[in-house]
């Protein structure tokens, strides 16, 4: 054990480590790159991805023109979910408004509406929804159903009990994110994507630069082994990128008021593992490329699947069945689960350990493979 420690600390690792650290410290552009793009991206994603469905434009065609039909229209107007910019004389014109994008939905009340209501029969109304955007259509349909249901309830209260639906009420409690802030969902996951992407960019950049300028040969001529060189390259990056974890979390807290309900230590550990995975990916890519721009182009093959198949932007439950297992090998997916667990749900390691282990395995595997590739190439 002692001998091993001696070899590690007393050997060439420390000078190499110091060399890397000074090199990184002198690189102004790198420092800027570590701070500005991640912060900007976190802000952009947090602000721009907002699923709220409010102010839906409803085109109304009231063929009944009775107090009953006006009651229905005003129920839609008062709900706050729909705006009624204009009434249309015919359903064709309302349909055209949807086609032009002037309306998101149309409500068509037939001429016999009031008559049927007065006779106690079921009155049908037509609701047209622009389902181009399936998600908005689902939510809009839900809003409309709710408005009509509450009207129905009020009307049913005047009937004998046997003709009323069962009296069931539902109270929905929204846990962890009662304000339905999508930025909480996006930023908590996005931090992981950023750590992996920035980590891989910086790692491949620093390695490819040595390859481009030929200084890697000089390094290899020193008595240091390939393993020592690669470890000494990775460690300072890890320290530097840890700063990114702090920056990202601070932005999320300060701008989006993301809560911290669990252990920050666990969060930071997950973040470091993510950085490790990123460095592994970057080093791996670097061993295949000769130049900076080749490395960046190669990243186009790796980054999109890592970013998309993670459940960060869209839920994994919305992906097709066959693709879901692939998300399990994605470090960002596990980071997102841990990050949301710690920050939003306030749960601990006792629940999150499977994800921590998976993340650890991914990080070890990626760093291991890349170190092996590096040694094979230069050792």
């Amino acid at each position: 054990m002692r001998a091993m420690l001696d070899r590690l600390v007393g050997g060439r690792l420390v000078p190499l480590f110091i060399k890397e650290l000074t090199q990184l410290g002198r690189n102004r552009r790198l420092v800027v790159m570590l701070i500005v793009p991640p912060t900007l991206q976190l802000l952009l994603f947090g602000f721009a991805l907002n699923p709220e469905v409010t102010g839906l434009k409803l085109a109304v065609v009231d063929e009944s023109r009775t107090p009953e039909s006006r009651q229905l229209v005003s129920a839609f107007g008062e709900s706050g979910s729909f705006l009624i910019p204009a009434q249309y004389p015919s359903s064709e014109q309302a349909g055209d408004a949807i086609a032009r994008g002037d309306a998101d939905a149309a409500l068509i009340i037939p001429s016999d509406y009031a008559e049927r209501r007065i006779r106690g029969e079921t009155a049908s109304i037509q609701l047209l929804l622009d389902a181009t955007n399936a998600n908005t259509a689902s939510i809009a349909g839900g809003y409309a159903a709710r408005i009509i249901e509450s009207l129905n309830r009020n009307l049913a209260a005047q009937r004998p009990r046997a003709a009323r639906p069962l009296s069931l009420t539902t109270t929905v409690t929204l846990l962890y994110n009662p304000g339905l802030q999508n930025s909480w969902f996006i930023t908590t996951g996005m931090i992981g994507t950023l750590l992996v992407l920035v980590g891989s960019l910086v790692a491949s950049g620093s390695l490819v630069k040595e390859k481009e300028t030929g200084t890697i040969e000089q390094l290899l001529m020193t008595p240091a082994s390939a393993t020592e060189i690669i470890v000494a390259k990775m460690l300072p990056l890890l320290i530097l990128l840890t700063a990114d974890i702090v920056i990202a979390l601070s932005v999320a807290r300060a701008v989006f008021a993301v809560p911290v309900r669990g252990s920050l230590v666990l969060f930071a550990t997950a973040g470091m593992l993510c950085v490790f995975a990123g460095i592994g990916i970057g080093t791996f890519v670097a061993t295949f490329t000769k130049s900076q721009q080749q490395a960046q182009l190669m990243a186009f093959f790796v980054n999109p699947p890592v970013a998309l198949l993670s459940g960060v932007v869209t839920p994994i439950e919305a992906m097709p069945e066959w693709i879901r297992p692939f998300t399990l090998i994605n470090p960002v997916r596990h980071f997102a689960t841990i990050s949301r667990g710690v920050l939003l749900k306030g749960v601990g390691i006792d629940i999150l350990y499977p994800n921590v282990l998976a993340l650890l395995a991914a990080a070890v595997l990626l760093v291991g493979i890349s170190a092996w590739r590096f040694r094979k190439q230069f050792g």
Binding site: I139, A144, E149, S167, Q293, Q296
Partner: protein, 367 residues
Amino acid sequence: MKRILAQARKELAQVRRDRLVLFLALVLPQILLALFGTALSLTVTDVPIVIQDLDQTALSRAYSDAWRQTLTFRVVELGSDSQPIDALDRGDARAAIIIPENFERDAIRGVPAEIQILVDATDANTANVLRGNAFGVTANFARSQRSGAAPAIRPETRLWYNPGRDSKRFVGPGAFAVMFALFPPLLAALALSREGEQKTILQVYASSISAHEYLIGKTVAFWLVAVAQWMIGVAVLRFMFGIWFVADPTPLLVGTVAYLFCCVAFGVMVGAAIPNQAAAIQLVQIVGFLLSFLLSGLIFPISNIPAALRWIALFVPARYYIELSRDAFVRGAGWPAMWHVPIVLSVIGLVFFAVAWKRMRRMQVSA
């Protein structure tokens, strides 16, 4: 004219010879289109939920079955000793339905029986959809239990353009548009900044070609590459997503000519301004791609973006082209709704090109 064609031919020959670039040009866009179209969906299915039935009567079991019959939800068993909240904490379930004691008795007597529904709102959008569904399941169940309880008002809902609420029809045409905001400008920017980086630009200066001929030559070459990408992309939409033109395709065709020019011109501008390939790639990636991904209405409506950021979307070409491609592939309103798009795209493209030209002209003089 001859010099423009020569420049374009030289550029295409260069693309053909570089295997990595050729792959980036023709294969990767389609892979990403397929990936985006498949992975970017908001329509959840099979969401795990738990039901805690404290009543254990015929009615409460019938109510539980109503949940089992939906496509959106999948009921997972709640261990006998664990509480619903634990299942949510662990992430085993996204929602918990708690049926109170005396559920059946109260419901029949007409005393409101209160069902508690806990929703994991970590994912705000999914939580919103689940809340709406939960409401619908309960209301339908309440009505189905009383034969005489026909509702006073019954909505007949029609979903236009996309009756199956298939999110591929929404994301497919959108991802299709975003792809062209990434790859054609990337290739164009690489080609121009390479000349600057490797100083072959000096040979261009020394030759008889003028700045606009040089730029038009490059633009034409990469526009042709983009057209090839576009055609393969349409085939991917057709065969992977089952999407095809629903009406008159001419607005899309005209708009495509303008949009591809706009995208290539953006790359030409970046490449002319930055004689460093690595930096040019990053700029295209961040400005061209990120903004097109986030501020174009690809996933959520642009109107939801805070006003302080929303104005940027006015200058994002993909935002206009997405409207156009969604119209051509899904909605089908045609020219009356879309006439402005080719004009706006041409104007933005010309601005990009003019900036590149201004930059090039100056370099020529100073070099």
